[in-house]
């Protein structure tokens, strides 16, 4: 029987059953969910699924990563850029445990993923069998939902549920663990039915009109309204609704790290990035606004700094799809529960057109101060050593805000988030909540598969690159045209910055030496170059961008440069320091 026969039965649950294996049912389910790309790594306990995949290779692209952590990060990058659900295969035991970091990352950053792990035969469960681990218990805190399948008949429904849960409400990673016997088992397949409802799961809270009215009233009365936006705008596909909302009443808006690119960087009401290494104005003005409107963001401590000194003067309106986020960190005056795609237009309709130009101008004034004190020097340094900021500036000039930028974690991440320009939504991919070093490279691979027509640039530190550089092998084998930009400061820079500022310059184990990255890339047949002089920067970046294929550019930057401004831990956002 070929795969087509089964496909034709979709959603009909025809009376006539076909006998197929659990493994085949898994792949059929993926096709029915419009999956075309899977990131994974095989092993004994998932071999039946890989065996079935052999027959599906025309419909399902499988990207063989070099480490399962890379598979999850790639799936995250794919999901973040494409808006679809990322799919991962891994085997039992070590394969599954290698997923944990990525799952935790996806969980905290609300990335929709369906991870399918193989498991030992059901008869061996609990016997410490070869490569058996209790994957369900290990992944419980880092998944939105997980489930172990021990009988093939459960597979269609379990996977349907998995996709529904992963990609509705507040998205998140889901893991389905399938025992080997269930993969091999033949059963009467009745077709696949997508899941649209689970009794005990409410993806979206009911929108309460009275709160929308109350929120509109507060905004209409506000003298100094201020909007904070997070990834919720992107996840809700509400970029247009969001823009109309802020434009109607001229509300200044600042992005969280995860919210970057939801609003074009150059939008006249975009007043910068919030948080620890965010911009000066939005941090300071948080403690001056009278109404704070948070849209699809979760008041992470990296955004709020000291909570007891955070926006105490303001009335807070919080739009969120996850009821548990309301009041979690910051007390809300008016909660607006629901999908912001739906709530924003309702709110906008009740808004009065408003000017607020004086108030918006205040942000611009502080911005000038930041430009003078920090930004200008960072972007146009007079020192010999190059700065990370100027690399991003030149990159901006060459890409015009059209590139998708993934980052790793550290100083380069904060610099990239601060200075990269984004014209389009879903073009910033970074590990926000977990801050996972090693994220940038595999995420870029996934991002490229999510948007192969785009230029994808991975900005990575010399430290983080060495955490998952084996994924160069994936790039080599599958031809992902990823541009890798290593900003090498010969330090674990961000930790060094903290040691300098808060630990008396005691540089304890942050000095990291690196291999010849270009040679390493060459070893994987990936072109590359290393530069350390400013005069070569533009040409090198041009070469990287115009190269047809993956490319690695290593830029040597100042060793002890710091990222400023900074809200030091334990201080208030308005105490943000410019140097």
């Amino acid at each position: 029987m070929n795969t087509l026969e089964i496909n034709e039965q979709k959603d009909t649950r025809s009376a006539e059953a076909i006998e197929i294996s659990g493994s085949k049912a898994v792949l059929e389910a993926l096709l029915q969910e419009n999956v075309d790309t899977v990131f994974g790594y095989p092993g004994g306990a998932i071999m039946p699924i890989y065996d079935a995949l052999y027959d599906y290779s025309e419909k399902l692209k499988h990207i063989l990563v070099r480490h399962e952590q890379g598979a999850v990060h790639a799936a995250q990058g794919f999901a973040r850029v494409s808006g679809k659900t990322g799919v991962v295969f891994a085997t039992s035991g070590p394969g599954a445990t290698n997923l944990v970091t990525g799952l935790a990352d996806a969980m905290i950053d609300s990335n929709p993923l369906v991870c399918i792990t193989g498991q030992v035969y059901a008869s061996l469960l609990g016997t410490d069998a070869f490569q058996e681990t209790d994957v369900i218990n290990i992944t419980t805190p880092v998944t939105k939902w997980n489930y172990q399948v021990t009988d093939a008949t459960e597979i269609p429904e379990a996977i349907a549920k998995a996709f529904y849960i992963a990609n509705t409400g507040r998205p998140g990673p889901v893991l389905i663990d399938i025992t080997k016997n269930a993969q091999l088992q033949l059963f009467d397949y009745l077709g696949y039915k997508k899941c649209t409802h689970i009794r005990s799961y409410r993806p979206e809270p009911e929108i309460r009109k009275e709160y929308i009215e109350k929120a509109a009233q507060l905004i209409n009365q506000a003298k100094k309204p201020f909007v904070l936006f997070g990834q919720g705008v992107i996840l809700g596909k509400a970029e247009d609704e969001f823009k109309s909302f802020i434009e109607k009443a001229n509300l200044p808006a600042a992005a969280t790290v995860m919210g970057l690119s939801a609003l074009p960087t150059d939008h006249r009401l975009h007043v910068g990035m919030l948080g620890m290494h965010g911009n000066y104005a939005p941090n300071v003005m948080t403690n001056e606004c009278d109404v704070l409107i948070a849209v699809g963001m979760r008041f992470d401590d990296r955004v709020t700094g000291r909570l007891d000194k955070y926006a105490k003067q303001a009335k807070v309106i919080h739009l969120d799809i996850d009821p548990a986020e309301i009041d979690k960190n910051v007390k809300t005056t008016v909660p607006v529960w629901g999908d912001c795609k739906k709530t924003l237009p309702l709110l906008t309709a009740l808004l009065k057109e408003n000017d607020h130009s004086e108030w918006v101008e205040k942000f611009r004034e502080l911005e000038k101060e930041e430009i003078k004190e920090v930004i200008h020097n960072e972007l146009n340094p007079t020192t010999d050593a190059m700065t990370m900021g100027e690399v991003i500036r030149v990159l901006n000039e060459l890409t015009n805000g059209e590139a998708i930028i993934t980052t790793d974690v550290g100083q380069h991440q904060m610099v990239a988030c601060r200075y990269a320009r984004y014209n389009h939504s879903k073009s910033s991919v970074t590990s926000g909540g977990l801050g996972t070093m090693g994220f940038g490279l595999p995420a870029a691979i996934g991002a490229w598969y999510g948007a192969p027509e785009k230029t994808v640039v991975a900005i990575i530190g010399d430290g983080g690159f060495q955490m998952t550089l084996q994924e160069l092998g994936t790039i080599m084998q599958f031809g992902a045209k990823v541009k890798i930009l290593i900003l090498n400061n010969e330090f674990l820079g961000m930790v060094r910055q903290w040691q300098q500022l808060f630990h008396d310059r005691r540089y304890s184990f942050v000095n990291i030496t690196s291999p010849d990255f270009v040679a390493v890339a060459k070893g994987y047949y990936i072109e590359g170059e290393k530069i350390s002089e400013r005069k070569d920067l533009k040409a090198a970046l041009e070469k990287m961008l115009s190269h047809d294929g993956a490319y690695l550019l290593e830029v040597m930057v100042g060793k002890e440069n710091n990222v400023f401004p900074m809200v030091a831990q334990g201080t208030s956002v308005s105490e943000i320091r410019l140097k």
Binding site: N137, T140, P141, Y201, K312, P323, T333, V334, P335
Partner: protein, 196 residues
Amino acid sequence: MQKQEFTITLYTENSVGLIGRISGIFSRRKINIESLNTSPSEVEGIHRFTIVIQENEEVVRKLCRQLEKQIDVMKAYYNTDDEIVWQEQALYKVPADVVTEKVYVERLLRQYGASTVVIRQDYIVFETAGHREEIDRLTEELNKYGLIEFVRGARIAIIKNSAGIHQKVLQFENREPSPHIVENEYLDKRDNVFTM
């Protein structure tokens, strides 16, 4: 806000592994579960968890939202002791001779509403149900007479002001969003409640 005793009632699907998921939500926040009971509920196929913790109300409210967020949890309620009717069961094993020889022990048991479960030549097992303090008092008394073994069951509780889950289940099954999935009593009362 002061810590006090709260009883959390969860209505859940009866699915494998849910206890782990739920207890993780407590342990991750370093909240000790004082008592935990799971049982069928008034609706077939739906399970009921009764969990007792000592916490302040703000924490409990947030906790309940996190609990309700779990896919298999339908509804989470929290109540103070005066809002529920609750019982804990206890079993006591005492030497038989003490009871037979010292009549007042028997009187004591009767006073606490204990009943006999097993009578043997060497020991007798009593059972009682009640509030913790009552059970504690009886335990203390029996300790004086050579209490051999004692065990207390988890709290079970009925919420006084609740119509049960029947209606809710219908709503849940009907795909219709329940109108009051979360309550926010703090609407516009920010200044009164800001505690941090």
